[in-house]
């Protein structure tokens, strides 16, 4: 499995978890700050994965 393929899978996994977290925040009373913490962490990690993938493409 290539590097880009792995990055794509990680990104998809993160996106999936993020959708679940956002849905939980939206459909429940957002009383637990922890969900928001997870959301921020996933969003931030996605930037790394997406950014490195794009950099590899642009500088290939």
């Amino acid at each position: 499995m290539g590097w880009d393929q792995r990055l794509r899978e990680v990104l998809l996994f993160q996106a999936g978890v993020m959708v679940v977290v956002v849905a939980t925040i939206l459909f429940s009373s957002p009383s637990d700050e922890r969900l928001f913490e997870v959301f921020g962490a996933l969003l931030s990690a996605s930037i790394t994965v997406f950014g490195i993938r794009e950099m590899r493409k642009l500088t290939a």
Binding site: W3, R34, E37, S44, T48, T59
Partner: protein, 423 residues
């Protein structure tokens, strides 16, 4: 009282000396350890990725590590702290963990109050110093380097390489954006958008620290797999002739760095009590400025040898290492409370400045063409001609001056409108 002195003037002097020895000690550590590593045949790439890349950020990293250890030890039960509730340890703040420990009767309410105070003041100082140093480098130092490069080449502008913008500058902007996302209190953001109060400063939790630290490792791996040869040229220190002596000097300099960081953190406490300035502001104005000097000197001396790429790479590389490694490692150790000015001014300003510059560099020709049409329509042929001849990735002398001006605007707004960290 620091080192037996309690007067403001004496503390100001100690503060200056501690910051200078912090930065000078870090420089000495890097040069000695690099020489020793080369003597023992460690690969140039490995040295560049460890000693050199971490070295330029060593003052900030040391300050974070010493500060985080202070926060941990102030709880009086640093080991029990990690064994409370795993989820709170991972995504909670130091203050939340203290409350849990107090509930269980492990620590008293006095210890909780004192440790919370250390948590807030240390967080403000180390984060202010870190982000302050990045702002200085991205605006003032970058502007000065570009200006110097253009003037030395007797040119009207400076041409960035496409690789630099994509491999160095864009990740730097991404890093700042990531730091902002992690620093925000997302619940507060949702609350504010629903009409609530503006409480958007959050916490750098251990999970955030892992994300930042993991991103640093990922970026290092990316560098390793894509630009080994360029990295090998980054270090310019000769192999050491006397490795044992240099190793001893390097270790002694590291001790000096750690002691300086500890002294500086104590001086800040005195300065805050005496002047009423916020911790982050002192960090921005002292370590933030001084720790940018080595990068500026390296960058400008690199220009004299005609190696603009390496100069700017070192400068921008340190802006990637600062938040990812220093804040990342520090958050994993102790977590940090984010000062309000960081999320409301410092980080947004940094991200927007970098984003605008990046977008401008890649769309300058298009913007020139667009503006040339109305100019030609108005009969301003020469203006239209100039606009049409603009090139992508070239920053003019005026652009560099504007970048320098941004720094002074940043300072003015910071000192006038964002005076309190946690009010």
């Amino acid at each position: 009282m620091v080192l037996g002195f309690s007067g403001l003037a004496a503390n100001a002097l100690i503060s200056v000396l501690s910051v200078l020895s912090l930065v000078a000690g870090a420089e000495l550590v890097v040069s000695r350890i690099e020489g020793v590593a080369k003597h023992y045949g460690v690969s140039e790439v490995v040295i560049a990725m460890t000693v050199v890349s971490i070295g330029t950020s060593l003052p900030e990293i040391s300050l974070h590590l010493v500060g985080s250890m202070n926060i941990l030890l102030s709880s009086g039960a640093p080991l029990k702290l990690f064994l409370t509730d795993p989820l709170t340890v991972l995504i909670g703040s130091h203050a939340e963990i203290l409350s849990l420990l107090a509930e269980k009767g492990v620590i008293t309410s006095n210890v909780v109050a004192a440790s919370q105070e250390t948590f807030l003041s240390t967080s403000g100082t180390v984060l202010g110093a870190n982000i302050g140093s990045d702002v200085v480098q991205q605006t003032l130092v970058l502007g000065m380097v570009i200006l110097s490069a253009a003037l030395l080449a007797n040119d009207h502008g400076f041409r960035f390489s496409r690789k630099f913008l994509i491999r160095d500058y864009a990740p730097m902007m991404g890093t700042t954006l990531m730091t902002l996302i992690l620093a925000l209190n997302w619940r507060g953001v949702v609350g504010f958008l629903s009409g609530g109060a503006l409480k958007v400063a959050g916490t750098f939790t251990r999970l955030d620290g892992i994300v930042l630290f993991g991103s640093f490792l990922a970026y290092m791996y990316y560098l390793y797999t894509t630009r080994k040869e360029e990295l090998a040229e980054a270090g310019d220190v000769e192999p050491s002739d006397r490795p044992l002596r240099d190793l001893f000097t390097g270790v002694a300099a590291m001790v000096l760095v750690i002691v300086s960081a500890e002294v500086f953190l104590r001086v800040v406490e005195v300065a805050v009590a005496r002047t009423g300035l916020s911790q982050s502001m002192i960090g921005v104005a002292s370590v933030g400025v001084v720790s940018a000097f080595p990068e500026m000197i390296t960058a400008i001396s690199g220009l004299r040898h005609g190696s603009e790429g390496v100069s700017l790479g070192t400068l921008v590389g340190s802006n990637i290492t600062n938040p990812l490694l220093a804040i990342g490692a520090g958050s994993i150790i102790s977590t940090y409370a984010v000062p309000r000015p960081l999320v409301l001014w410092d980080l947004p300003m940094e991200t927007i400045t970098a984003g605008v510059l990046l977008a401008y560099m890649f769309s300058k020709e298009r913007i020139g063409d667009l503006l040339a049409r109305p100019a030609r329509f108005a009969g301003l042929e020469s203006v239209a001609g100039k606009l049409e001849s603009t090139e992508n990735r070239v920053l003019s002398v005026a652009g560099a001056l504007l970048l320098i001006l941004v720094y002074f605007v940043y300072l003015y707004v910071r000192f006038n409108y964002f005076q309190y960290d946690f009010a």
